[in-house]
Symmetry: C2
Subunit: 441 residues, 2 copies
C-alpha cells in the first residue's frame, strides 16, 4: 500500500484489546483498515495526526476488540426461542423441538430465522459463528445478506430430517452444500456437521469424514454431551464417544467436538494428540442439565476451546458476553477456587481460541496486522461499566451484548451506533412473529 493512499477505515480514541499472543492492551490505540484487512494496530502517539481514511470512527474512549466468535449454534432455532423450557430433555426434544422442526422448517422459515439470529448476534458483537442445521443453503443466503462471517454445515443424521427425507442421501446432500458454497464468498465457509455418534452410523461418519477431508472442511459433531450418551456408546462400541470416534478415524485437526462434557483422561490425551478443537456451550448445557465441560483441563492440555451459545431454543439468547460471564463463574464455583478461568482466559476463548478451534485462527480472533478486519467497539460510558479499572474485567463480568456500539466485518461497517446496516430488523422480527403465531405448542 502506498503511503498516500487513504485507508478504508480508521478507528481511534479507544482502548485496543489486541488479544495477540502477548495480550497487548493499547491504552490509546489506532486501528487502520484497507481491503478488509488490518493494516495497522498500535498505540497512537499524542501529537500524531490521524492518517487519511475514507471513514474515521471515533471510539469515544470505549473498547476496540476482536469480534466475538460463537463456535456453536443452530441459528434458525431462534424460531423456537422460549417455546418450551424447564422440561425433561426427552420431552423437550420429542414433544416440542423435533415436532416443530418437522412441521415448520422449510427454506423460507430457516432463512428468516437465520436472519433474526444474525441480527441478534451482530447487535451483541458476534462477527463469526459456526452453524449446523437443516436447509443450510437458506442459512448461507441469509448469512451472505447479513455480512457476517460463518462456517455453515448441513446437518447429517441417519433418519429422515427436514429437507432430507431419505437418510441414505444425507452425506451426499451435505457434500452438495459444500460444493455449492466452497470458494463462492469470502465470508461463508462450508463445512460438515454430523449430529452425534449415536444418531450417525459408523459408515455415515466415515463417509462424512472423507468428504470433509477432501474439501479441507471443518467436521463438527456433538459428542460426550450427556451421561446417557456415554453409556449408550460404551454399550455399543465398548469405549467412550471420543475414543470411538478416534478408532473409526473421525478425529483430526479439522474436527470440532461440541460439548465434550463427559470425557475422561484417555479422551483428553486422544483429543490433544489429534489436535481437535472443542466448543463449549455453557448456558445451554446448564439449562438442559447436561453437565459442566472441563474447560480448564482442555486448556491445560493445549486443546483449542471456543465458546458457543447453542441454539436459541436452549439458551435462550445468543449473547456471547453472558456466555463469557457464566463460563468464568461456573468453573470457579465448581472447583471452589476463584482463580480458575480468569477474565483474560475467558476473553481469549470467545475470540482467538474460538477462532483456532474452528480452523480460522490464522484469519480472525485477534487484532493483528494482516488479519481480517473483524472488530467491535464497546460503549463503556454507562453506569454498569463505571468506573473502569480494567477493560478485560468489564467485558467478562459487567458488560452485555447491548453495550456493543459498532461492528466491522472484513472491513465493512455492519452495525453503526447500534443500528444494523445490512438487515431490515423490523421486517425480520415481524416475519418471525407472524410465523410463531401459527406454531401451536
Amino acid at each position: 500500500m502506498k503511503k498516500d493512499t487513504p485507508y478504508d477505515i480508521v478507528v481511534h480514541n479507544g482502548t485496543v484489546l489486541t488479544v495477540n499472543a502477548a495480550f497487548d492492551i493499547l491504552k490509546s490505540g489506532i486501528v487502520c483498515i484497507a481491503d478488509g484487512t488490518l493494516k495497522r494496530v498500535e498505540e497512537r502517539t499524542a501529537d500524531e495526526p490521524l492518517p487519511a481514511a475514507r471513514h474515521v470512527i471515533d471510539a469515544q474512549g470505549g473498547i476496540i476488540m476482536p469480534g466475538l466468535v460463537n463456535t456453536h449454534t443452530h441459528a434458525a432455532m431462534t424460531l423456537f426461542r422460549g417455546m418450551a423450557d424447564d422440561l425433561p430433555l426427552i420431552t423437550w426434544l420429542n414433544d416440542y423441538i423435533f415436532k416443530a422442526e418437522a412441521q415448520w422448517l422449510n427454506p423460507e422459515s430457516v432463512y428468516t430465522g437465520t436472519l433474526l439470529s444474525c441480527a441478534e448476534m451482530l447487535l451483541s458483537g458476534t462477527t463469526t459463528f459456526c452453524d449446523g442445521y437443516f436447509f443450510e443453503d437458506a442459512v448461507a443466503h441469509a448469512v451472505k445478506e447479513s455480512g457476517m462471517r460463518a462456517i455453515l454445515a448441513q446437518g447429517i443424521v441417519d433418519f429422515p430430517a427436514p429437507g432430507v427425507a431419505d437418510p441414505k442421501k444425507n452425506v451426499a446432500e451435505a457434500a452438495q452444500f459444500i460444493e455449492t458454497w466452497q470458494g463462492k464468498n469470502s465470508l461463508v465457509t462450508p463445512g460438515l456437521f454430523c449430529h452425534s455418534p449415536y444418531t450417525c452410523s459408523e459408515e455415515t461418519l466415515k463417509k462424512a469424514r472423507k468428504v470433509a477431508d477432501e474439501a479441507h472442511s471443518l467436521f463438527q459433531i456433538h459428542a460426550a454431551e450427556t451421561q446417557n450418551e456415554v453409556k449408550e456408546i460404551n454399550q455399543k462400541h465398548g469405549t467412550s464417544p471420543v475414543q470411538y470416534l478416534d478408532r473409526i478415524g473421525v478425529l483430526n485437526a479439522r474436527t470440532l467436538l461440541v460439548h465434550a462434557i463427559w470425557v475422561n483422561e484417555a479422551d483428553f490425551a486422544c483429543m490433544a494428540k489429534r489436535g481437535v478443537g472443542v466448543s463449549v456451550a455453557t448456558e445451554s448445557e446448564m439449562k438442559l442439565a447436561s453437565g459442566v465441560a472441563p474447560i480448564p483441563e482442555f486448556l491445560k492440555r493445549g486443546i483449542a476451546v471456543g465458546i458457543g451459545t447453542d441454539g436459541a431454543a436452549s439458551n435462550n439468547n445468543l449473547d456471547m458476553f453472558q456466555e463469557m460471564d457464566t463460563a468464568a463463574k461456573l468453573h470457579k464455583v465448581k472447583r471452589l477456587d476463584p482463580t480458575v478461568l480468569d477474565a483474560r482466559q475467558v476473553l481469549a476463548l470467545a475470540t482467538k481460541s474460538g477462532a483456532e478451534a474452528i480452523g480460522l485462527g490464522e484469519q480472525i480472533g485477534s487484532l493483528e496486522e494482516g488479519k481480517k478486519a473483524d472488530l467491535i467497539i464497546i460503549d463503556t460510558h454507562k453506569p454498569h461499566l463505571t468506573p473502569l479499572y480494567d477493560p478485560v474485567s468489564h467485558l467478562v463480568y459487567s458488560a452485555s451484548g447491548s453495550d456493543v456500539r459498532d461492528v466491522i466485518i472484513e472491513g465493512r461497517l455492519v452495525v453503526r451506533d447500534r443500528a444494523l446496516l445490512t438487515i431490515n430488523v423490523e421486517a425480520v422480527m415481524e416475519a418471525v412473529e407472524h410465523l410463531a403465531r401459527r406454531i401451536v405448542i
Copy 2:
C-alpha cells in the same frame, strides 16, 4: 376514590405479569395508579375506553411486571467494580477491598457510589434493594434522591470500620441510624446489619437483635457463606452457624440470612421453624467460589427466598435479570435435572418471594390492588426477545437489564424511555471516574 377522579397514572397495552398467588397473566392488561398505590390491575376489555388519568403510559405490547427486588447488596461498592478479580478470597479482601474501603470510604464517596448503583439498578428494573454498608446515612440520602425503595442498614463488625473507629460503639451507631430514618420517608426503611457470626461477638449479636426487635426492623447477617466459616464456628461454638445464631436468640421472622450456602438438615428445620428469610447472591457466590446455596430445598420447606446481586465488586454488575437466568441454570446443572427451578419460580424469587424475605411482602413484590405501585415495563420489541411465546421464559432466559423501558416506584415515574428522571447520571459517572483515577491498586 370517586368514580370521576382521574388516576395519577394508567399503564395499558401490555401483558401484565401480576405474580399474584395464582400467577395470573393478563394478556392485554391495564394498571391504574393513584396515591402511590395500585388501584386496578385487570384485563382490559377490547371496547373499554381508557380511564381518565393525568399520565397515560402505552406499554406498546411489552411486559408490565412488578419491579425487581434485590435482596442483598452493598450499593456503594460500585466504586470498586472490577478493581480486582479472579483472586483467592483472602487476597481479594485483605489486599484490595478492605484496604480500598479503609482509605477511600467517606460520606461523600459512599453517597456518590450509591447514586451510581441506584442509577444502574433503576435502569435495569430494580425498584427495591436491601443494603448493608458503612456511612449508611449517606446511603440513605442518595437513595432518597434516587426515588428507589430500600431497606438500609449500618454495618456492624467488632473491629474498627469506616466511619466507626471504636467498635464498642458499633451497635449504638447502627441504632442511631435507625432512629434517624425510622418513619421519615415512605421509601427508606432502616434496619440492622451484623456482618457475620465470625466478625461479631455473641454480645454484639444479642445487642443488635434487641435493637432490631425494639424498632421492628429487619436484622440482616451473612451466614454459612463458606466452608471455612462453618469450620470456624463449629470449632468455636460446637454447632453450625445457623444453629449457633438460633441458640443465642438471633433468628426470628425479621431475620434475613444472606448466602446460607453450607447448611444442613437441622439448619433447614431451624430456619423454617423461625420463619427467617434467605437472600441468595448466585453470581457473586459463583465468582468468589463460595458454593451453591440450596434454593430448591429452601422452597420445599416454605422458606422465603430472595435474589441479591451482592456488591458490584464481586459480581460485577447489579443486573437482576442476569441473576435470574444464572440461578435458574445453575441449579439445573448442579442436579443434572432441567426441571429444577422453573422460570415462574425464579421470577417469583426476584419479586414476590424476595419482598417476603425482607419483610415487605405486604407492600410490594406483585401487582395486586392495594399494594404499592412499584412496576416496570419491558420493551420486548427486540431481536433477542423475538418471537414471544411465553413472557416469563423471556424475562428469565432471554432478557437483560437493558430491556427495561420504564420504571415506576410508589406511583412516581423514575425512568422513562430508558432515561433516568431522578439522577444526573452523567455527573455521577464523572464523579466516580474521577475518584477511581485516584484509587491506586
